[in-house]
Amino acid sequence: MAEQKKGGHLKNLTNGLLKENPVLRLVLGTCPTMAVTTMAANGLGMGIAATVVLIGSNLVISLLRNFIPKQVRIPAYITVIAGFVTMVQLIVKAFAPDLDKALGIFLPLIVVNCIILGRAEMFASKHGPLDSVLDGLGMGVGFTVVLVIMGSIREIIGSGTWFGIALTADLITPMGIMKLAPGGFFLFGCLMALANKITEKKTGKPAVGKMDGCAGCAGCANKEICGEIEKREEGEN
């Protein structure tokens, strides 16, 4: 992308924020989105950790894109990503032990987060280092924003606090169900419907309405396989 102008670089950055928001539009990384957003602070921590990994892995993979043979690219990407995840894991353990405890196994599980492998496959393996870093930053911030919004809603309704500050805790009895698993699924569904509604108004067609074939892995490295499963299912109909 040598001939791309400055606006092109900026577009890579803003793409992840709204137009291709990884969670609400591309439907990647659903597991951590629902699992760690019991509190706004956890969502923010998870978002930052994933952003750091995303920027690092996008940069390295984009630099190595001409050296990695096509056949072994997925294991190579996973190794790069796992290296960055291990670094982030050690840093979080050292400087934010509470966050480490709150995120639990979802911190190491950033390795298998579809957003990161998906961006490596869809973007970093085809673009230069600068574009890839900007894409990683944009996607990471888009992911973080959704996590913080979800975490805030669940924390305010579920425990009556926001970032640990008491808001409505003394006035209304908090609805604990929002902090538990069903609340996560429910809120995520509602947010996605909201995103659908907004884009429908803007563009006239729903964004993720037809994502019922292979939802989670829509953008990940296994797209071809998903297509095969879908074909098989359609064949049965």
């Binding site: 597991c31 190491p108 298998v112 069903p182 699924f185 995520f188 569904g189 659908n196 292979c214 490295a221």
Partner: protein, 196 residues
């Protein structure tokens, strides 16, 4: 022995991987549309989870802990799982072609399934022994199957429903998953009290 049963029951019902731990949501939402693919996928998951638990335990205890390299386990485990899945695929293709035909296309999907890496991580975090790890792996896989099969039934009903336009597709599926997950909360406290 009692411990093994407690692990099994909690992995299948109480701490169901998909519905209360949010592990493996992607295949849960993606492959639960048809009963056949739900069964194929979860069969492959049970198989790989049990094997991965068995394979990572000796690596953690005899390799990483001996060399003080526990912090490397994320990297090592994911590579072990990836290699294992490849190996299983080759072996099945060569010796049990019928099983390969049924599970084959689901196997590569499993490498990046967070439930498989998650179960090996939980085995380490909970300091399980070898058999406890294997039982936890298989139990988590069975729990995954239960969730997937139940949800495939729910989705079949959902198809004939009149859903508001913005909720069509994934959003209403997530709301339905929320209700299924709510019903699984009824199992809370079961494992501790069952074997008293």
């Amino acid at each position: 022995m009692k411990q093994i049963f407690v692990i099994l029951v909690s992995a299948i019902l109480v701490d169901n991987f998909v519905l209360s731990k949010f592990l493996g949501c992607c295949p849960f939402l993606g492959v639960s549309k048809k009963m056949d693919s739900a069964l194929g996928m979860s069969g492959a998951v049970i198989f790989v989870m049990g094997l991965a638990s068995a394979a990572t335990w000796p690596i953690q205890h005899y390799l990483l802990e001996q060399m003080n390299l526990e912090y490397m386990n994320t990297l090592v485990f994911i590579l072990v799982i990836a290699a294992l899945v490849q190996l299983v695929e080759i072996i099945l293709k060569r010796y049990i072609p019928s099983l390969h035909k049924a599970l084959g296309i689901y196997l590569p999907l499993i490498t990046t399934n967070c439930a498989v890496l998650g179960v090996t991580m939980l085995n380490v975090d909970n300091k399980y022994g070898f058999w406890e790890s294997v039982v936890n792996g298989v139990g988590a896989g069975v729990g995954f199957m239960l969730a997937l099969v139940l949800f495939a039934g729910v989705r079949r009903k959902l198809e004939s429903c009149d859903v508001p336009k913005a909720f069509q597709g994934l959003p209403i599926t997530l709301v339905a998953a929320s209700l299924v997950s709510l019903s699984f909360m009824g199992f809370a406290g079961l494992a501790e009290n069952m074997f008293k």
